[in-house]
Amino acid sequence: MSNAETAAPVRIFAGTDTMGWTHRIGTAARGVAATVVPPLAVLCLMALIWEIVGSQPGASLPAPSKVLKDTMELIVHPFYDNGGNDVGMAWQLLASLKRVALGYALAVVAGVSLGVLVGQSTWALRGLDPIFQVLRTVPPLAWLPISLAAFRDGNPSAIFVIFITAVWPIIINTSIGIRNIPEDYRNVSRVIRLNGFEYFAQIMLPAAAPYIFSGLRIGVGLSWLAIVAAEMLIGGVGIGFFIWDAWNSSRISDIILALVYVGVVGFILDRLVAWAGRRVTRGTSVA
């Protein structure tokens, strides 16, 4: 095995063995610093400008220092529960997340199934794709009245709005992924005679996974966008209604805190799906 292309691969990390562990920790710390320090610096600068502008007499929005002072109770007691809608921020966020989880899970199941159908069958594509293309442009909130009329209850309506918002990018990306499966993979499966289910599980899903996950990622982002708006209208517990309630009682600082939480949770959701996608599609996207 001396020929060129079977030679053992070069150990890229061979060099690190000779380095001391203190050195390695130093390298890691520098890496963290490089990703954390710049956004932190920008954040501080923005807060400073906001502080200066917000501290002017007659400013309509509170400065960050005032926001912190006003919302300290909410920040330090995220889990309080005074009954009704008067619960801590963690409960509000969890209520919203629960709706998103339900609606999104339904959207994943329906979206991937319909995407596979549309990707597999030319007739399904011809029949369904134009309809999907029209329906996906309907704004999420436009679905709310009709779902309220259908379900006669706020909670299932909100879940339906999440579902209908997230389902389109999942369908469309899945069907594109299925259509883009190379003919060669199909031929391989035909030669070894995989049956329909084996082909679906062992070739189709993994081959389309990078596309499916980009749909899932867009979908989770849209769900989180839609839940806040939907909850403003349906009321009850939830971060959307919390914002609306705060506006109605002129608690501007609470709104700002809620926006920060909404942003952070949305960011985490996006990263979670991206991470899951990387785990599942290892190798596929780079090949």
Binding site: N3, T6, P9, P206, A209, R282, A287
Partner: protein
């Protein structure tokens, strides 16, 4: 000729697209003995790949039939394992898993799990890939991918091994190594092999017979050349061998004098994607 193991009889193939019908293959007749290594050579677009795809069962001939070991073939199957031009490994599976997926499916009822594992490892050993079992296709070189493709095909215990320009995408040195490996494996296993190539040296070096195809459309078998060089064959010794050069000369003469390629726009490119791929 002895009893034919693989027999192609009067194969015609036409593709229809947009109301226009193009005849790609016209009356292909070929008999291959068990253990014989046959190369199909011809200019690109002549329908070589179409012939191979018909033998594989991936394409259905317009008329005529293929018989392997006394049985007509109508659909793809592991008895006619194919090594694809662009390796066709599944990128989300490791080297080991790419062979395992075929072995598990084909020998599920015949071999115990431990035996299947043993068989996967044995075939990867044969192509010298035991050192990279846990690597993904994206982490190994083009030559190594092709080795895994060969291992996957061999692991199916095919009656006929089909090679579709298996070394076409590789650099000259890697190609030479792999050709030597295929010769070594062939001398051990005595497979019946049908290989497509456009490389004259490769055809003469590896084959027992070279089937030369005329230009398409309506391509057919022009000449068949029996290569009676003793095995094992050594490329360096043969480079200066009069018989080797004579065979080489005959193939070149066929390709460049009798079947000089006339570049016509769109010729042979009207077939569906699979067949038109560097046929």
């Amino acid at each position: 000729m002895n009893k034919a193991y693989l027999e192609l009889s009067d194969i015609h193939m036409s593709f229809t697209r947009g109301g226009r019908t193009t005849q790609v293959l016209k009356g292909i007749d070929l008999k291959v003995r068990q253990g014989e290594f046959v190369a199909l050579i011809g200019h690109s677009g002549c329908g070589k790949s179409t012939v191979l795809n018909i033998v594989a069962g991936l394409l259905k001939a317009s008329s005529g039939g293929v018989i392997v070991d006394g049985r007509e073939v109508n659909e793809p199957g592991p008895d006619r394992a194919m090594v694809f031009q662009n390796h066709s490994l599944l990128p989300w599976l490791t080297v080991y898993q790419n062979v395992e997926i075929a072995v598990n499916k084909i020998f599920r009822d015949r071999l115990k799990p431990a035996e299947r594992k043993e068989w996967v490892l044995h075939n990867l050993e044969m192509v010298n890939m035991s050192h990279a079992l846990e690597r993904l296709p994206s982490e190994i070189s083009g030559g190594m991918k092709q080795r895994v493709g060969i291992a996957r095909a061999l692991a199916m215990k095919p009656k006929v091994l089909l090679l579709d320009e298996p070394f076409g995408a590789l650099d000259a040195l890697t190609r030479a190594h792999l050709q030597d490996e295929v010769m070594r494996i062939q001398s051990e296993l005595r497979n019946t092999v049908m290989m497509i190539t456009h490389d004259v040296d490769e055809a003469v070096l590896l084959s027992d017979r070279i089937v030369m195809m005329t230009n398409g459309p309506s391509a057919t078998i022009g000449e068949v050349l029996a290569v009676e060089l003793p095995r094992p064959r050594d490329r360096i010794a043969l480079a200066d061998d009069a018989r080797y050069n004579h065979y080489r000369h005959q193939v070149l003469q066929f390709l460049y004098e009798k079947q000089r390629k006339v570049e016509t726009f769109g010729a042979g490119r009207s077939a569906p994607a699979m067949a038109s791929r560097a046929a």
